[in-house]
Symmetry: C2
Subunit: 374 residues, 2 copies
Amino acid sequence: MSKTFHDLNPSQRILLGPGPSMVHPRVLRSMATPVIGYMDPDFLAIMADVKDLLQQTFQTENDLTLAVPGTGTSAMEAAISNLVEPGDKVLACVQGYFGERLAEMGERHGADVTRLARDWGDVFEPKAIESAVSEGEYKLVTLVHAETSTGALQPGISAIARACHQAGALLVLDCVTSLGGVALEVDAWDVDVAYSAGQKCLSGVPGLSPITLSARAVKAIGDRSTPPSVFYLDLNLLDRYWGSSPAYHHTAPTSTMYALREALRMVQEEGLEARLARHMANAKRLWDGLEALGLTLWVEDESLRIPSLTTCRVPEGFDEAKLRARLRDEFNVEIAGGFGPLAGKIWRIGLMGESSRHEYVTLLLGALRELLID
Amino acid sequence: MSKTFHDLNPSQRILLGPGPSMVHPRVLRSMATPVIGYMDPDFLAIMADVKDLLQQTFQTENDLTLAVPGTGTSAMEAAISNLVEPGDKVLACVQGYFGERLAEMGERHGADVTRLARDWGDVFEPKAIESAVSEGEYKLVTLVHAETSTGALQPGISAIARACHQAGALLVLDCVTSLGGVALEVDAWDVDVAYSAGQKCLSGVPGLSPITLSARAVKAIGDRSTPPSVFYLDLNLLDRYWGSSPAYHHTAPTSTMYALREALRMVQEEGLEARLARHMANAKRLWDGLEALGLTLWVEDESLRIPSLTTCRVPEGFDEAKLRARLRDEFNVEIAGGFGPLAGKIWRIGLMGESSRHEYVTLLLGALRELLID
């Protein structure tokens, strides 16, 4: 007798973790649209819309702007595997888990990686990166804009990009938790590679991950002496598929593309400025509320906190995993714990995209009050 | 003024190309289920169901059985990038586009690749592979079970696997177009790595791709002296996430996972044997009908044709791309043209999963009659 499998019926959660965020019913419904072929003119038109909307959201005119067919980590690896050739020197700025993941990927792809490190929760003085990049002949500098593992927002990107270019290096910026929720201006700041994920501040569903490359970065790929090792993430081949004379490379994730288009359309309808203001307003509401409960935020300087991802210390004497399980089981609310050196020490609370709503902040604060104080 | 983007409303197509195939409304509806977190116990239970159902479908007890978070090409690259270390010798059996793609991936990952080639549409005499593998110290043999670019089905997998093992090599088998539509017995045939895609004979949606590894293949990964270069596709890390003490590696494509589970549940409900019989019955209907229209099938030997993917010669004097466009625009039917050496020469007609239905065969044959003869 083989096991029988019941109808799909997962619990309905309020997603206040580091992603996926809540998905609007409009976006969910878009995925019930029948699937069409990856070379169908109607599908290519949908991809053209997605590209246009991504350029608006990244605030760039970069022609090489597309969605990598995988989750955020695949976009990170597309950046690294296309730009690194074995032996290339990379300056990896590490102030948390994702900065370290970039360094590790560089090493896996054969780069000579130098780490510039800060404690988890700190950010870099832009001058520190400016001086480090001028001291070595780096091809790439990797940096995380909004470090999801710590809640800290790196300032001074524009100045850092300028210093990278003066030293002949390219700046790769991880924007997984910032795009669509935190100010990010790819062209004005002159960032060479920026990538993100569909399921965070954009509130699409996981499985497609935006990336954009400057002309400088495209030229660096063109100047390679060997093809990138990863065929699946080869940006030349991906861009050919997304371009004006599309050629087969992979079968695009149709339904996820429908969802991304609808989510980006909602970003456009709201307007980027209004969207960032909403993220900030709900973040402040959360920060004030957590402090009113006697909790301490991990990033002390308010100007260095990520509006879409807040970290706070677990109060003394509480088992954080047990409390998170109670939030989930009793309130259907998801938040996350800490990674690595911050495991057991912090909670990570995401207010991203559709999850950034007044009512969810009120619910979470009420639930925490019941669990911690009442 | 920024451009406005209309409501999503692609044409409704009958998908009779090489995938994606038609998706059942049950599967489409499953994606409207609200998204939950990738570490939520409810989501981990869904993944456990998917693993169990994949083992049934692959006919294997392999513990390392999971769905790679990308399209079929990502599963192919997971196989190659985890098993190849620079300098490893690979015997690539190339009888079409996907056999060649495997060879190219091997080269990109630094393997010393020897190609054993046949004309596109031919298959290998098992003895030819058995003798080639015994002549070199190969670590891997790559082979395509059902070559989507030619319509030819490779016989004798079990004997080929035995010869590979006698020679100390592992057999990597591309089952993208066979799993769920054509007989495939991973354990009985002793295949070391088999991978597929969600959107072909399984009729899920693109974005998750099944893979399974024998204990022998898992050991080969464990014996590597360097970590696989591709972090995103690192099978040890993916397996840890899919395992009994899940650890974060990537944000799983939630909605696509819902769809894959529902699609696999439908495979189980139909029963594998009945499903294969349905694919064969509709294929025969198509083959007979095409021949009755005076068309010639590309693979002459009926026993070497893939039931889920038929290739036929474009009749003399017709512009194949124009005819395909008319099929699409006048009948909303998608079929595909040929690749590489077969471009302009053949059509590729997929009857995969939900696309393998009597009524679609009748529609296609009727439309071809109107376009070619009436």
